[in-house]
């Protein structure tokens, strides 16, 4: 019952899905202990960031039906907020809060403007405009190098407590050294859980239902008494704010930020793909999709290395399986996942359970 309310009464509605979600939750909760090593922990942290980022995008895309390519812009704003204030104000919690506050404020204003603009032009035009705006923003971030570190980005320090050099216990616990990096991971973990549950609540609120109505038929939604501008703009702002928070999480984890890290179009496409693989219009899809995608992306090269060695007898196959061509396989993954998961993993699992 408590769980049901925590999940805003939006149950997985498929036993397999429930199991998957549980597995993901447990794996992430104990990642430092289950999967040792720096790389595994980075992958887990990246998953946490992406779950929030993708879920926030799903609010816009899956629930409201707005296709925007400017979502990484807000992600970047969040990351830059932390990066800039930490590098200017020094490694203290005040700087983190200032950075967070400032970036949320900027995102609020920008997303408000974009949300209003989305009503003036048609969907494709809006998508293309946001694409252009996002690329302009990336250029701007590179150009304002005094402020943003330009293309090289910013490396900065954070409060001692969540820095790798801080050790709060001498002895490793279960083979894992108890240091600031671990604390930082759990900070991210808690943030991700809270933010995702919050998004789940929003999409299952009366407001969330209206967003779906607008997605389906904007004209009729207005006719039955919903002021579409208000709902769309609110959704745009909310999703931007969540993306900003995801960006802040990223910066806190990496203690670095640059245009390619948080603003690139590549990330935008990854996010889109995750939404589609996971299942549009289901926050759970974001979680499942993010795990699958980030793991695949992070270990594809390792996998290919094995394949490459196995195929060393067949030179042409080995050439294609070369780890240097990992992008080729990522592209194939794009195509296949659109082919085989038209309604996403969540959609597929739910449809199967419904039979």
């Amino acid at each position: 019952m408590f769980l049901k309310r925590l999940l805003s009464n939006d149950m997985p509605r498929s036993r397999l899905l429930a199991l998957l979600l549980l597995a993901v939750f447990i794996a992430l909760a104990f990642a430092p202990f289950i999967f040792p090593g720096v790389k595994a922990l980075s992958v887990a942290a990246k998953i946490l960031v992406f779950v929030v980022l993708v879920a926030s995008f799903d609010l816009l895309l899956g629930y409201t039906g707005i296709v925007s390519f400017a979502h990484t812009m807000f992600f970047g704003i969040g990351a830059y907020g932390i990066a800039i204030s930490a590098s200017r104000l020094g490694p203290n919690w005040g700087a983190v809060l200032v950075g967070l506050g400032a970036s949320l404020a900027i995102s609020l204003v920008l997303s408000f403007a974009i949300g209003l603009f989305s009503l003036r032009v048609r969907a494709i035009f809006f998508a293309m405009i946001t694409l252009a705006v996002a690329s302009a923003f990336q250029t701007l971030a590179s150009q304002l190098s005094d402020f943003t570190g330009g293309e090289d980005g910013l490396t900065f320090k954070l409060p001692e407590l969540i820095s790798p050099s801080f050790e709060f216990a001498e002895e490793p616990f279960l083979g894992v050294s108890l240091d600031g990096r671990l604390l930082c991971y759990y900070l991210l973990f808690v943030a991700a859980v809270v933010l995702v549950l919050a998004l789940l609540r929003i999409v299952n609120s009366p407001f969330g239902r209206v967003l779906q109505a607008i997605r389906e038929n904007e004209f009729r939604a207005e006719a039955i008494g919903y002021r579409v501008v208000v709902y769309r703009t609110t959704a745009a702002v909310l999703s931007a704010l969540f993306a900003t928070l995801a960006g802040a999480m990223l910066a806190i984890w990496l203690r670095y930020n640059g245009p390619d890290t948080s603003l690139s179009f590549e990330i935008m496409i990854d996010v889109l793909l995750i939404v589609v693989i996971g299942g549009m219009g289901t926050i759970y899809g974001a979680a499942i999709g993010a795990v699958l995608f980030v793991v695949a992306q992070s270990y594809l090269q390792d996998l290919l290395r094995i394949g490459n060695e196995a195929a060393s007898g067949l030179p042409w196959l080995a050439a294609l399986l070369s780890p240097d061509r990992w992008l080729l396989w990522l592209g194939v993954l794009f195509v296949l996942s659109v082919y085989y998961f038209p309604t996403g993993i969540v959609g597929k699992l739910r449809a199967r359970a419904a039979r």
Partner: protein, 254 residues
């Protein structure tokens, strides 16, 4: 009292509704008839705010509606069903109606602006929606998605959404078009029931003259955007302009 004064709209050089002034009192059902393209739907669009008038005003109970968005007009008490079916195709029948119920009734859901409660907790909405579906005989299909409904059922749902809004003014645009003669009575009965409520104003665009004859308290005729006749049903139907322009050199006027 719904009133339009000199309501006009031009599309380029074409005047689709030409200075129509008319008042509709509560407790009456006014049928609006006229040839195809006469401007009936456009007149509705002007009243409900889907189109902006080139000139003229619309007011409800003395308050001007001009300049308000369609959603604001819905809140002011106008309700509208569309001629060409216009629903939320991938939501279920029940959700369609529930959304309409939520839109106009106040409550903890704050007309859909509540971000932080769980939607299914608002049970009253579901109950009301169920009730309406029962009235239009769609209860058995409440979990079907709209896109899979046959045409006739979609027309019924169109009417159900209007009922859910509980407006002061009901505007029906050919509610029974494409509906089987055995099914149409469900809708017509609903309209009859509405008529009994003397606080409701009903506007009905309909081409089936037997329906008009039976239901209407008053008929107005639009022709080329202009109001050309207004009065008692029998009188209007008998007038030469209606006979000729609308009913044709009638073989079936009887």
């Amino acid at each position: 009292m719904l009133e339009t004064r000199d309501l006009t709209i031009r599309f380029g050089g074409h005047v689709a509704v030409n200075s129509v002034s008319c008042a509709f009192a509560p407790g009456t059902l006014t049928a609006i008839v006229g040839p195809n393209g006469a401007g009936k739907t456009t007149y509705f669009n002007l009243i409900s705010g889907q189109l902006k008038a080139s000139a003229g005003t619309v007011s409800l109970d003395g308050h001007s509606l001009s300049g308000l968005s369609p959603s604001a007009r819905t809140h002011a008490g106008l309700g509208r069903a569309f001629q060409l079916t216009n629903l939320f195709p991938n939501l279920t029948v029940l959700e369609n109606v529930r959304l309409a119920v939520q839109a106009t009734r106040d409550g903890a859901h704050r007309r859909g602006l509540n971000l932080w409660s769980i939607w299914s907790d608002h049970k009253a909405l579901t109950e009301r929606a169920d009730q309406i579906l029962a009235e239009v005989a769609l209860k058995s299909r409440e979990h079907a998605t709209v896109a899979s409904l046959p045409h006739g059922d979609q027309r019924k749902l169109e009417v159900a959404l209007l009922m859910a809004l509980e407006p002061k003014v009901f505007m029906f645009d050919e509610p029974t078009a494409g509906m089987n003669a055995a099914e149409a009575p469900v809708i017509l009965d609903l309209i009859r029931k509405l008529k009994k409520d003397k606080t409701k104003t009903i506007l009905l665009v309909e081409h089936k003259m037997d329906v008009v004859r039976e239901l209407a308290d008053r008929i107005i005729v639009l022709h080329n955007g202009t109001l050309v006749a207004d009065g008692e049903p029998a009188e209007v139907i008998a007038s030469p302009v209606v006979q000729e322009a609308y009913l044709g050199v009638s073989k079936e006027a009887a």
